[in-house]
């Protein structure tokens, strides 16, 4: 069954429509990638899911339409969003960033979860009392991912996690995404320009251009598509 089912979604910023009726689905436990150039509507797609842009159409989360639902409530329904540019809390310490990531939880395992993510990202553990604003770009992205996972989401939305990071760090990060998906079964929707990496961890993908889905298929099909190869794989 589809965890996330987007039907004929349109999104607009003021007078300008950024998504012209897109359809996509993400199944339970799947990693799905949305490829597209700058301004194609990748970020807007994620914002439409989270209720952060004026949206019409249907976004079914586990079969419930969440269009018009308050962002904070969508988070409570199990969606975590790592926004473009990390979206950490610069004036809060690393450990408080993780604490606030667990804001929607009421169980007693928050401390244990923080320790777990410190084990996965040891560089964050070294900086636990430092303010998030003082971290490097790579560390901020680790923190943003760990913070999103602190809410124990069923669906993780990742907005261009590779943006502005060094290639080695990006490789590490995507390995972590793959292992989070494998071990915790977290469903992921990743938007990326770095098609090579994203298709490496995804089972399926979509290509978005000027606010419309122009292509969809398995990772293998997209990797072999001439248009995708020319536009996103540089071959």
């Amino acid at each position: 069954m589809s965890v996330l089912e987007i039907q004929d979604v349109r999104a607009r910023y003021g007078q300008i429509e950024a998504l012209h009726g897109i359809n996509l689905t993400v199944d339970e436990g799947e990693v799905v990638v949305v490829l597209g150039a700058n301004g194609a509507g990748k970020t807007t797609t994620l914002r439409a899911i989270c209720g952060m842009v004026s949206t019409s159409g249907t976004v079914n989360l586990h079969g419930t339409n969440i269009v018009g639902t308050d962002t904070a409530d969508i988070v409570r329904m199990g969606v975590a969003h790592v926004p473009q540019g990390r979206g950490t809390f610069p004036e809060l310490s690393v450990v408080d960033n993780l604490n606030v990531g667990a804001y929607v939880r009421k169980d007693k395992e928050i401390g244990a979860d923080i320790d777990k993510w410190f084990e996965i990202f040891p560089r964050l553990a070294e900086r636990r009392t430092q303010l998030a604003g003082s971290l490097s770009g790579g560390e901020q992205q680790m923190l943003a991912v760990a913070r999103a996972m602190m809410s124990r989401p069923k669906v993780l939305l990742l907005d261009e996690p590779s943006l502005g990071l060094a290639p080695l760090i990006i490789d590490d990060l995507f390995k972590q995404f793959a292992s989070i998906n494998a071990e915790l079964g977290t469903t992921m929707l990743v938007v990326e320009q770095n098609a090579n990496l994203a298709l490496g961890i995804a089972s399926r993908g979509y290509v978005i251009e000027a606010g419309e889905i122009v292509l969809s298929g398995t990772a293998e099909e997209l990797r072999n598509d001439d248009g995708v190869r020319a536009a996103y794989l540089g071959v």
Partner: protein, 304 residues
């Protein structure tokens, strides 16, 4: 020397009151980058409520002041919900104008309900002619020292609330990055509402302390608000500790420093205490020109 020490304690206790009001300004500013000009009015109304509870109903004064502050917290929470939240928070002008409007409405209601004549207001601390300790010939009055003690307690309390409670964590998150706060499930409206209530409670307590020294009328907080604004600007509008230190500095400038300059620096005999407000305004101007982030404020750098 003893006169200097005595004036210094006076300055510090005035400064403590400015500090408490400045903290209430900072709480709102941190979260919204707005100056709430209704803060003085809320504090004034809190003092009148304390007057109702303590003097008219006969409750102990401390209880009256705390109840007054609690009532103002509820009032501020209502104001935020009805008059502030419907407006786009990134568009500051309408909201600032609304806070001005609220200040005048509170003054009008106070004058209408409680009368326009000055009322004396007791101190929650011993304030008889002999209630003081003497150090080096200076009389340090308990009513003055008590105000400083209240400041210390209040600031400790706000740090506890912000750093040790869940709502405090949410408040700091909203202050740091509103959009990300929504993305971790924080209800930003409710969180800001809490900020308004907390700030009004601070203001209410300050009002109950200041009224003893100025007497009670519908405009008694106006001047205090200007000094507190100067204090918050000096300390850094987003720094709670900065607001406290700024308050104490303004208090010291007003009390021992300004009279000393007047008495001992040739050519400054015109600097009477009536000009204290002018000094406060010059200080605001100076800080905004030279170091807009204040002494302890964060200079925000936008990563692009």
């Amino acid at each position: 020397m003893s006169l200097f020490l005595q004036r210094m304690i006076e300055g510090l206790s005035n400064g403590a009151m400015y500090g408490v009001v400045a903290v209430s300004l900072v709480i709102i500013f941190k979260a919204t980058t707005l100056i709430n000009f209704a803060q003085g009015g809320l504090a004034m109304f809190g003092a009148y409520m304390a007057n109702v509870f303590a003097i008219e109903q006969g409750l102990p004064l401390i209880v009256g002041i705390l109840l007054g502050a609690a009532v103002m917290a509820v009032v501020a929470s209502g104001i935020e919900r009805v008059l502030i939240r419907p407006f786009d928070p990134s568009n500051h002008l309408p909201v600032v104008l609304i806070t001005f409007g609220i200040a005048y409405i509170l003054q009008a209601v106070a004058a209408w309900k409680f009368g326009t004549e000055f009322k004396s207001f007791p101190s929650p601390f011993p304030s008889g002619p002999t209630d003081h300790i003497e150090i080096a010939g200076a009389r340090l009055r308990y009513e003055r020292l008590g105000v400083v003690l209240v400041l210390i307690i209040m600031v400790g309390l706000v740090h506890l609330i912000l750093n040790r409670t869940k709502i405090g964590l949410a408040f700091r998150a909203v202050s740091s990055n509103t959009e990300s706060a929504k993305l971790v499930g924080v209800k930003t409206g409710r969180t800001l509402n809490f900020g308004w209530a907390l700030a009004a409670m601070f203001g209410g307590v300050a009002g109950g302390l200041v009224a003893h020294f100025t007497q009670l009328d519908s405009g008694f907080m106006d001047k205090i608000l200007i000094f507190s604004f100067a204090a918050a600007t000096l300390g850094g509008l987003d720094s709670i500790n900065g607001a406290v230190i700024g308050g104490l500095i303004i208090g010291l400038v007003e009390s021992p420093i300004q009279p000393m300059v007047r008495d001992y620096v040739p050519g400054f005999h015109f600097l009477t205490s009536d000009l204290a407000l002018l000094v406060a305004f010059l200080l605001i101007l100076g800080v905004l020109l030279v170091k807009p982030a204040g002494l302890f404020g964060t200079t925000r750098v936008e990563r692009v």
